[in-house]
């Protein structure tokens, strides 16, 4: 054993390696991404790792490995679980042989997601047991327990950190590689009565699943990570308690230091819920405040327990207006809620009136090729009736002013369906779908096939920056690199589109503005489904030494560069445009549109 300062996600990866995991796969998504990246960095030769093309495929790989008795870990964010839910729902009915841990990171806030869905509720829906860590240290321990539970009860098991657990750092004790479990997969054994899902098998297994989960409710009541923290004797007379779990537990424990300790239930296995432990926790309490994020999950379970066992305890939380219905908790919000619950004065937030603070929405980086791509399409389609359907990735930021080039954004790949549908309804509207390269492979292909087959009319714009940029530059099929370290044949976006039957497929460098505009103009007016691939690498990955600068004598102060493209490296000083050379990447887009020719390229340094 040794001490390491690790991120929660790194702790999960190290825990999985310590459990002898044989196969790890997933699709990138904040806040889950670093789990798989850490496995790739720290794995031994017996662990296979890959970024799969999407979460559904990853789930199927992991399921197959578990059929063969291997230990498998599949990683994703909560949005990815929606994509993977088809195989997972069925896997629960089929069951596993080797341990299968499904790592799903939830995102209260949300900080970088479309929804605040709660994987604890998904666990109850899918009947898959779930472990909910509060810290990196617990996550390290829980992932190892999850493999044991998965094998013992032949079910996939969820491990669900939230953003603050995944991205929090702690110094923790971890095993040395020599101490890792060596897990040998037995290999796939043919048994069609077990591995082929049919209604009769599902009927039989459904009953077994429910019986097993009833058993797990009892097993989890004695699970050491579920526990009741005692109250201060001086506060026993209040007859009040707190129920919590996940990262909110850390807020409650900090508040106990300041306010005094109420009896506290920590729920580490929300599903199946540790009923007997809850009953003993509730005994003698008049009121319980539930402190949790996302769904009122513990709250509903406790209300259910009270009903089932005829308890009179009042359960307070989100549904009773005592806790906020959405968003993240914080040290301060939890302390204030607990103080109010305990009848203590709630410290007033000091009234401060600082000068107006700058608003900082995230923006496309200086020199980002997506900016040039959006600007080219905007210029090409000026004055036309259009719709620009966006998608998930850095390029969602194309919605910001002044580009204003994202009219819709729903979920990965959805822009294609929306664009073709809008043209069916309004034939005079020029419809565009923008999709990034990684998203193209992950979820755009059925949309293209659908459009070609059903005679849709729209322009597909592929923003190919040769990486999965938003989540921190993961490889994908178009990059020709794998997580096992091999350099392989790239999957060609052009060939895919031509193979499907897209009528015109043009590839152009978005940083060549005039050519880019001309290409879009020509292509968009062709009938049917056509595509423009804007290819230029991500500036955060391939930093250029080039810079541009403004000649103040030549700058006429028209601010066109600033009004048109919104580059963070450009600002105005004393009425003239200036370039921040620390941010500039020398993409030259501003130079190409400057009417006074005042922006010049500097010699590469």
């Amino acid at each position: 054993m040794h001490d390491e300062f690790v991120m929660g996600n790194e702790a999960i990866a190290l825990g999985a390696l310590a459990a002898g995991v044989n196969l790890v796969c997933g699709y990138p998504g904040t806040p889950s991404t670093e789990v798989l990246e850490t496995v790739a960095k720290r794995r031994g030769e017996s662990t296979y790792v890959e970024w799969s093309v999407n979460e559904k495929v990853a789930m199927e790989l992991a399921g197959g490995a578990a059929y063969a008795g291997a230990r498998a870990l599949v990683t994703m964010k909560q949005m990815g679980l929606n994509v993977a839910s088809d195989p997972l729902m069925c896997l629960e009915y089929i069951g596993v042989k080797g341990g299968l841990v499904v790592l799903v990171a939830d995102d209260p806030g949300p900080i970088s997601s479309q929804t605040e869905q709660d994987t604890r509720s998904f666990a109850a829906f899918s009947r898959v047991p779930l472990l909910d860590p509060s810290s990196a240290e617990e996550a390290y321990r829980m992932v190892q327990e999850a493999f044991e539970l998965s094998e013992k009860y032949q079910t996939p098991v969820f491990l669900r950190p939230t953003t603050r657990v995944s991205h929090g750092y702690a110094s923790i004790r971890v095993k040395d590689p020599e101490e890792y479990v060596v897990h040998q997969a037995e290999g796939f054994v043919k048994d069609s009565g077990r591995w082929v899902i049919f209604p009769r098998l599902s009927f039989a297994n459904h009953r077994k699943i429910e019986e097993r989960n009833a058993l797990l409710r009892d097993v989890f009541s004695d699970f050491p990570l579920n526990r009741t923290e005692p109250e201060d004797p001086s506060l026993a007379g209040l007859r009040k308690g707190v129920a919590t779990g996940g990262f909110s537990w850390t807020y409650v424990m900090e508040a106990r230091k300041n306010l005094g300790a109420l009896r506290t239930l920590k729920v580490s296995t929300p599903f199946p819920f540790p009923e007997k432990l809850a009953v003993s926790f509730l005994s003698g309490l008049d009121e319980v405040l539930c402190v949790e994020e996302l769904d009122p999950y513990i709250e509903r379970e406790l209300v259910y327990v009270c009903g089932k066992y005829g308890l009179k305890t009042r359960i307070l939380g989100k549904t009773t207006g005592h806790m906020p219905l959405s968003g993240e908790n914080s040290r301060d919000s939890v302390q204030a809620a607990l103080a109010a619950f305990m009848g203590l004065p709630v410290p007033a937030v000091p009234a401060d009136n600082p000068p107006p603070l700058p608003v900082r929405p995230p923006v496309l980086c200086a020199g980002c090729p997506h900016r040039a791509s959006f600007y080219a399409v905007k210029q090409a389609m000026k004055g036309r009736k259009t719709v620009f359907c966006g998608d998930i990735g850095c390029y969602t930021l194309g919605n910001a002013m002044p580009l204003d080039m994202v009219d819709t954004c729903l979920c990965m790949g959805a822009g294609l369906g929306i664009a073709q549908s809008l043209n069916h309804l309004e034939k005079d509207r020029s419809c565009f779908a923008f999709v990034g390269d990684s998203t193209f492979f992950a979820s755009a292909l059925p949309g293209v096939v659908n459009a070609v087959y059903n005679q849709a009319e729209f322009t597909l714009i592929v923003l190919d920056n040769s990486t999965t940029a938003m989540t921190g530059h993961q490889p994908h099929p178009g990059t020709g690199r794998t997580m096992m370290g091999s350099v392989v044949e790239k999957v060609s976006i052009e060939n895919i589109l031509r193979g499907i039957g897209v009528s015109a497929v043009e590839t152009v460098d978005p940083l060549n503005h005039a050519l880019a505009v001309e290409t879009v103009r020509k292509t968009a007016d062709l009938p049917g489904v056509k595509a423009v691939i804007f290819r230029s690498p991500c500036v955060a990955l391939f930093r250029s030494p080039a810079r541009v600068s403004v000649d103040p004598a030549a700058c006429v102060g028209c601010k066109k560069c600033i009004r048109e493209i919104g580059c963070p490296a450009l600002s105005v000083r004393d009425g003239k445009a200036v370039v921040d050379s620390a941010q500039c990447n020398g993409c030259t887009l501003c130079m190409q549109l400057c009417p006074a020719g005042a922006i010049r390229k500097e010699e590469a340094r």
């Binding site: 000068p355 603070l357 900082r360 995230p362 009004r563």
Partner: protein, 190 residues
């Protein structure tokens, strides 16, 4: 020793590396450390923060309002944003150089760093303002604001760590070809 430190700035300024250096240095002294930081979309030019907590008996890596012993502000506006987290007698190190948001350039509202610094000096008695423009010029690289600010925090006695602690962490976490530059930034005095 228990210490709560907040580092704040704009995505891309190097707050994460600075917080890693502090954490690694504390760990090398066998002090338990918890930390938390902004990762994801906000890294693209948004407001970012790191919380670093050292000492015993900690449960949460997050710092509560009025609990920070030290705030290291990489940007004046961001330092004002985090000010409610500072203890009444807490210390603040702040860079004088503003990072203009694109929205400010667009609407011509251009926020004024001077107003932020005036506000800070009226609220924080133990305030060190670092002339970042000059410091970066003197050190000779636009990329080492983080080490310059850590150096200022060291000299203000605000970190509870020594220059040697931080240099040892630089050696462990940063490629060797950058050591000399980072040491120069850490030792820089105006």
């Amino acid at each position: 020793m228990n210490k709560n430190i907040i580092l704040c700035g704009v995505g891309g300024q190097g707050t994460v590396l600075a917080s890693r250096l502090i954490s690694a240095s504390a760990m090398a002294r066998q002090i338990p450390v918890l930390s938390a930081e902004t990762i994801g979309m906000a890294q693209r030019g948004g407001s970012v923060f790191s919380h670093v907590r050292m000492g015993d008996g900690l449960y949460s890596p997050m710092i509560a309002r009025g609990e920070a012993d030290l705030i290291i502000g990489f940007e004046p506006g961001e330092a004002v944003r985090q000010l409610p987290f500072l203890k009444p007698d807490g210390q603040m190190i702040v860079s004088s150089r503003p990072v203009m948001p694109v929205t400010a350039a667009l609407s011509d509202t251009g926020y004024r760093a001077e107003a932020m610094l005036e506000y800070l000096s009226s609220r924080v008695s133990r305030l060190v303002v670092v002339d970042a423009e000059k410091a970066l010029r003197d050190v000779g690289s636009p990329k080492v604001l983080n080490l310059i600010l850590l150096g200022a925090a060291l000299r203000a006695g605000a970190l509870g760590l020594s220059a040697e602690d931080l240099k040892a962490s630089v050696r462990r976490l940063i490629p060797e070809k950058f050591h000399a530059l980072n040491f120069r930034a850490l030792d820089y005095e105006p």
